[in-house]
Every structure is written in C-alpha cells, then in structure tokens.
C-alpha cells in the first residue's frame, strides 16, 4: 500500500534524448512505494521558449497540464528542473489574476478542464522536493541497501529549482538549495562542494551561442573534477544534455580533458537502493560511468 500517490509529468526529454531517466524513475518509485499516475495527455511545458514567443500560449499550455493533474485529485510531480521553472512561472501568473485565469480557462473548457488556484493545497514539485518534503529523508535512508560510501558526488541543481527565490517556494522551504547535498548524504555518499553547483549549465543557448553554452558546461565539470568529484548528479535532464551529451564538445571548447559521469537524480537514488547500473541505462551516457561503478564496487581506492 502506498501513502504517496502523485500525478506524474515526466516531461519531454526524459522520454526523448534521456530515456534512461524515465526508466530509472519508474524503478525508484516502485521500490520506494510512491505511486505515480502518468499524465499521458499532458503537453510540453514550453521550457521558457514558448513564453518567449507568446506568454499567454505558454500559460495556457501549462494550465492545461495543471488541470489534467488536478482532475486526478492528486498533487503533481515532475522530474525536470526546467519543467519546474517554466511551470512555476506560468502558475505564478495564473494565480495572480482571476480575470486572466478565467480567460485562460476559457481555452480549456472544450476539454472539460479547469485550472483552479490553490485547489486543496495542490502543488507541483520536482522529485528532489518530493523526496525531502513529502517522502522524507529518514524513510529514504531506511530503504538504502547499498550506501554510496566513499562516492564523492557533485550536486548540480539546474537554475530552475533554485531561482528565482520569490517564485519557487523559498519562503516556505528555505533550504531547497541544499536538498541535493542532503539527499547525497542520506544515500551514504559525500557531497562535493565546487563552484558550479548552482550555476547554469548553458543548455538554453546551445543552438544560439554554442561557445558560451559549452564554456559554461565545461567550466563546471572541470571545477567539480578539481574538487575531487567522482560524478555529478542533477535533477534536470536538460542540464544532463549539456553536461553529459555535450561533454566531449565542452572539453574541446574549454581545452580541458574532462570525463566525468553525470547521473540523473533517480539513477543515484536507485544505485543506493541496490539497482545495477545496467538496469538504470547508465551505459547510454556519453561520459563513461565506469569509474562510478568501480568506486561502488570498492575496486578503486579513494
């Protein structure tokens, strides 16, 4: 029996370029006893790009997703910092003006949907927030069967779960920018402090200014390596694209020999829950995860 049941928005990238994320999430939810009801009719959050084109369109698209979640009577969970940011931004506008909300809901009426402000304390949270605030780190600790002892993990948050503070719940939950460190510790690993943990991965400008984008990614990876990290962990698949998929290109731009595994948050949790790297699609990463695997197996001394 599960006491935590959530409407689940996996996002686009977790089912596109990072399918290993979606798969790992399913394994973790099952093992932790979190019941996920996937919102298969929901649409892309717009990632801030649609809002650049037409703010009302982005707001309506996300109101539709929220309304779909609300119609299940469940709070919503996402596994992407970018979804969190784009959706929180739209939600803030929707919640700020009832006339605007009515206008937006007008577009959803045909489908029998309506977004209601603060319906039964309805929330939309990233997995990271759900783990700490709703599931609980004590409970998570009890489920750990393979503590990530000696694994030095660099947290990489992704901008949209930490900024802007006034929008994404820091008044109520002031420590949201420290959660990754707490989760890493709970799983038995060692959080690594390095300069890039709360910086931008550069992904949003990869098609517009490749050099700026890859310089950002490369610098953060290099900083984490210099600080002694065995791997990075991120709750954002778009950060994963720039830090992992583009890592060889980032190495060229920054002139650094990189080679640092980047794990999705559910992958890191799953490793501590006893799943094998292969089940978690870690072989699909561009930056090899072999070092992490041998560290976990105790094969490589610290």
């Amino acid at each position: 029996m599960s006491d935590l049941k959530l409407a689940y928005w996996p996002g686009c990238v977790s089912r596109g370029f990072t399918p290993e994320l979606h798969g790992s999430m399913a394994l973790v939810a099952d093992r932790l006893g979190i019941e996920l009801l996937e919102l298969d009719r929901a649409n892309c959050c717009g990632a801030g790009v649609i809002a650049e084109h037409n703010q009302e369109l982005a707001d309506t698209l996300n109101a539709r997703t929220f309304a779909l979640a609300q119609s299940t009577g469940l709070a919503m969970m996402n596994i992407c910092s970018t979804c969190q940011g784009a959706q929180s931004e739209c939600q803030q506008r929707l919640d700020a003006d009832s006339a605007y909300r009515a206008h937006i809901n007008d577009a959803l009426a045909d489908e029998g949907l309506e977004y209601t402000k603060a319906k039964d304390g309805w929330t939309n949270k990233n997995l990271l927030w759900v783990l700490v605030e709703d599931y609980g780190l004590d409970r998570l600790k009890e489920k750990v069967t393979r503590p990530l002892t000696e694994l030095r993990v660099g947290p990489f948050y992704g901008c949209y779960v930490i900024r802007p503070k006034h929008r994404i719940g820091y008044e109520e939950h002031p420590d949201r920018d420290l959660y990754l460190e707490s989760v890493i510790e709970t799983l038995g690993g060692q959080p690594v402090e390095y300069d890039g943990a709360r910086k931008c991965c550069g992904f949003p400008v990869i098609t517009m200014n490749r050099d700026t984008s890859l310089r950002q990614a490369g610098t953060h990876i290099a900083d984490a390596l210099d600080a002694g990290a065995d791997c990075l962990v991120t709750p954002c698949p778009l950060c994963h694209l720039n830090l992992d998929m583009q890592q060889p290109e980032a190495a060229k731009v920054t002139g650094r020999d990189l080679g640092l595994a980047v794990l999705h948050l559910p992958q890191l949790v799953a490793l501590a829950l006893g799943f094998e790297p292969k089940e978690l699609g870690m072989g699909k990463h561009i930056a090899s995860t072999e070092w992490v695997e041998s560290r976990l197996a105790g094969g490589v001394p610290a």
Binding site: T60, D95, T219
Partner: protein, 415 residues
Amino acid sequence: MPEYTLKVRRYQPETREGPYWQEFTVDLDPDLSVLDGLLQVRDSQDGTLVVRCSCKAAICGSCGTKINGQSTLACKTQISEAQDGANRRPGDHGGNPIVVEPMGNMPVVKDLVTDMESTHWEKVRRVTPWLLPEGDPPEREYVVPPESMIDVTQSMACIQCGACVSACLSMEADPEFVGPAALAKAYRFVGDPRDSQTKERLYDLAQDPHGIYDCTHCFSCVDACPKGVAPMDQIMRLRRLASHDHDIDDVNNGRRHELAFTKIIERKGTLDESLLLQESYAQGVVGKLMPTSGAIKGLIGSLPTAIRGIRTGKMRSLGKLIPGVHPKLPGDAQQHVKRVYSHSEEHREELNLYITGEEEVVPEPDEAPDPLGSAVGGGRQHMDKVTEGGSETAGQSEATPVADIEPEPDEEGGR
C-alpha cells in the same frame, strides 16, 4: 551588541601582493547593514579598507558587493540576515564568517571597489540609452496614455548598481555579452511609446551575437537585483518583440529556434528534439528560407554530438534521429493542444507581474511582491502584432483591456 565576523577579500595593488582574505570582528546592532559593519572596520580598525558607498539607503547604487557569494547591495543587506546566510552554507552549521567580496565579472580596482567602466557603463552606452523620438518635440510635453508607460517603469527602477552584471552567469562565459543591466535599459526605450527607433533597436540587439540571444535564462540577475527590475524578464520581452512582433530573422538562430520549438509542440504536444535540431538550424535546407552561415555552422557543429548519441544508444535508435519519428499524444489530446494554440494566437495577453496583484487577498508564499500595489490596476497588456514599420511600439499603443485608467488630459481644455 552582538559580534559578527566579516571575512573580506582584500586587494591592495600598490603592495604588489595578490588578493588575500582578512577577517574583522565588529560589534553591531543586528538591524544594521553589512555596509555599516564595513564602515565600522574602516573607521575603527583598518583605515586602508576601501569601500564605495554614498546614500546607505539602496538609492545611489554605489555599494554593489558579493555577500556570501550573492551579488547585492551591502547597505540593503542586514548583518543578521547575512549571518544567517553564512551559517547555512552546505557542510557547516553555525559560526561561519560573513564572506564579503567585490562584485564579479568586473576588474577589481582596490578591495571592494570594482571598475564598472568596461563591464557596465560601456555596455549601457552601447544600447543607445536615450530617447530617439520622431520629428520636432511638441510645444509642451509629450502626451502618452498613462498605461503605456506602466510596463517600462520596472526597468526605470534600475539604479545602475551592477549587481545583476556581477551575478550574470552568461557573462562569466562570454565577457562580451551585453548583459542584464544594459538590456534592461534597452527595453526601457524599446518599450517607450515616444521612441521612434523600436525596430532598429531590436534589430541591433537581435543580430548581435552577444545580444538578447546570449542570455541563458538562468534567473541569476532576477535574484540579484535590489530594485525588482528583473532584467531577465526585460530580455524575454525584447525577444518576444524582436521575434514575434517584428519578425527579425537573426543570425543567431534565436527566432528560428523559438518558432521551430513552438510549432513542434503545436503538431506533437511534446518535444521532438531531433526535429528541433533540424528546424532551428536548417529550416532553410528543406524550406524556402536560405540557411544563415550561422545555421550551417551550427548544424555541422552538432553532428559529432548526434553521432556519439547513436553510438551509445542514447538516441534510442537511428529512428530517434529521423525528425518526425516521435510519439503523438493519445486520443484527441493533440486537437485540444491545437485549440489552446488558436485561442492564444488570436491575440496575445501579457500579464506583467510587476504591476499586478491578486485581487483575492490570500497571502501565498509563492506570490510575487506587489511593488506598486493595487492602485495601479491590472497588469495585462494586449499585444497586437505589428506587421510593418518600426515607429509603432507593439502593445504599448493599445489600451490595456482591464486597467481602469483616467482619460487623457484634453489638449485644449486640460488646464
């Protein structure tokens, strides 16, 4: 009075030594500011500490500083708040010094004083920060509808302190980026209904490889700004106007990327990344537009990444790389997404959170502060598409549909 420890990054070039850290302990009322603490150090402990300040009231913008890594004004940060911030750094608990550094992204002149000329003022001048109206000035004042100026008041609140420049994560990687302060200033004139060079200004900033499309949308400037200017929001407004309203087809692929993204979601509901890569770089290869040299370079540049993706199975299969092979939403869901599009594309509402506040007074932690209060009325802008000509400023010339605004003063009988 409580004691606080300030850990200050010092740099005294005449000593020919590199920068170093120095700790000072001050006795200070918890309600006083970090600036008060620094001035106490200068006055009673070390007269060589160099700090730039003037008004001590968050008006002059002189004391931009990094406190515990966060760019802000030293006069607007309470020392007790700064202590709380220092105590919650990951790894340690309590008793940490308050870390005070000069602003980032700028050369340091001495101690906490930075050179803002090359990194801030030059960039502000680069956006032509003055009004360029058409024709002769009117006999008396320019008369514009009051609501048309509301939207630019947010960027007018800038005090040029440089905190956003210091915090800018894009400028860290690309020092030539025009940056948040200058671009917010650019919107102040792009959004001004009296200005006649709207399209020219937008064209200039869209075509610049270090212009509006160089912002990585990281919200760092929004958190840093002590005056609620939200520079990134102004940059997004500039992008919306350049791309959507003025159809400026920039060499940076900003507009192509945005259009391709928006169209894909209309057709498929979720993002088909392969199609996005193809369409934002190389619409021209299959469509009627000529690809820009930037697009061709971009497409070629992305090839090694794509090939690597196939090899590791990241892209699932070759199929994932073929644009268009992407699952659709189930049942009639896609039709409903399309309806959302037609509803929103008929016209365009913009809700400016700076000037709106929920009429139901429900205190919610997620709610933005409402700096102008309810007196201003609604913050909705009706943005009708401007198809040609640069003299009309999109949206600004239209009355807001919800604001209850006083009628314009009658030119003849107004006095």
